[in-house]
């Protein structure tokens, strides 16, 4: 029975949990940072200065951040997948009397490329949502120091809510597509 630990850990992490863990960390770290950066630019009238200069704040500030997270969330997800599987292996070996070889062999047998593919698609979608939520809350920020704090908090909440909704929707889509 213990061997199924590799099935559970491998498939769950590759398909969903790795991307979800990464998204939660990024929402707290990067989503909040985006909101705080853009919020403080609102306070210091830097976004007004871009607007009056005829430079689109969306193109100059939002798009590069969205692109950064679209590209980097999948990379971080692969990193998270590896460490999650390593952690699962550690528990299996030390607490469930499974050998390292058996765990690795079983992982290779049950986890397919398409499992990782689903995880990476999720990661990219989460990346877009977290970046958009962070930037949106930052751009909507008021013009005081406390408003920047509220924007950062709001960015984390919005990112997490959107991530969870998107995760559910993607699960349905993958199920319908029989992936």
């Amino acid at each position: 029975m213990q061997i199924f630990v590799a099935d559970v850990v491998g498939v769950a992490v590759a398909q969903e949990v790795g991307a979800l863990m990464t998204a939660i960390l990024l929402a707290g770290r990067t989503g909040a940072a985006f909101a705080a950066q853009l919020g403080s630019m609102q306070v210091k009238e830097e976004i007004d200065a871009l607007t009056t200069a005829g430079i689109s704040p969306v193109q100059f500030l939002v798009l590069p951040r969205v692109l950064a997270l679209v590209l980097m969330t999948p990379v971080l997800t692969i990193y998270a997948d590896l460490f999650a599987m390593l952690g699962g292996g550690l528990v299996a070996i030390t607490m469930l009397d499974l050998s390292a070889t058996a765990y690795v062999v079983r992982l290779v047998q049950v986890v397919s490329i398409s499992d990782f593919g689903m995880g990476l698609v999720r990661a990219s979608v989460f990346g877009v949502l977290i970046a958009m939520a962070g930037c949106l809350r930052g751009m909507q920020s008021g013009r005081s120091a406390s408003a920047v704090g509220l924007a950062a908090t709001s960015a984390v909440v919005t990112s997490l809510v959107l991530t969870i909704i998107a995760d559910g929707l993607l699960s349905v889509i993958f199920h319908v597509l029989r992936l």
């Binding site: 630019m41 306070v43 210091k44 009238e45 830097e46 007004d48 200065a49 871009l50 607007t51 009056t52 200069a53 005829g54 430079i55």
Partner: protein, 262 residues
Amino acid sequence: MTSPSPVPPMPDAPPRIEVVDLDMAYGGFVIQRNLHFTVRPAEIFVVMGGSGSGKSTLLRLLIGLKAPARGDVFYDGQSLWTADPAEREAMMRRVGVVYQSNALWSSLTLSENVALLLEEFTDLGEQEIRDAAALKLALVGLAGFEDFYPSEVSGGMEKRAALARALALDPEILFLDEPSTGLDPINARLLDDLILDLRDGLGTTVVVVTHDLASIQAIGDNAVFLDSETKTMMAQGHPKALLADPPNPRVKAFLTREPIAR
């Protein structure tokens, strides 16, 4: 080399900026109503008034950042607020703005702050842009500070860098929001001299929002006084004329720093 001949204000020229029947409000809260004035080419026009009188809001409205509750602003006869976004952007391309908080882009060096506008809106090469940015910074006395970030220089230097950035595209009209805020008297005076030089040398039309009385009297060719209690434009004229013959007690109190006895 001879210095350029001064360009005097042109009282008979058609207005560069015309403000017509303008109401300003935040939601239902009216700040000023029935504003009506003109700014002539090469004029230094001062918007003065106490705190909360709507000076900075008026500036935001003049540079297209906030829509009026009523009325319009015309640049050389062209409506700002009925123009489509592309036209409005083209109109704003002729304008340079120095914000109250300087609003330098904090992740860019002083040189990059100036260069960004040149990169976006000119065909100049990389080296030419670097040279032009250095020239603008030298114009405001910041030669040698090109690679400093805004957080690494003093408030006065930041203000001058903001002016250099506002001048990057050689604007026809320059807006300054409380330019002497945070400056010591000497630097405030130097900034006044720089504004006069710009007007005299390049014919730049300057609109200054301020309550710095010394500056108002030193550089203003024309001024309006916005009153926060009556929410109206209480006076218009040359600052020296307004000081010599104030049209009402509130204007007199402001210009002479003597509170009205109650």
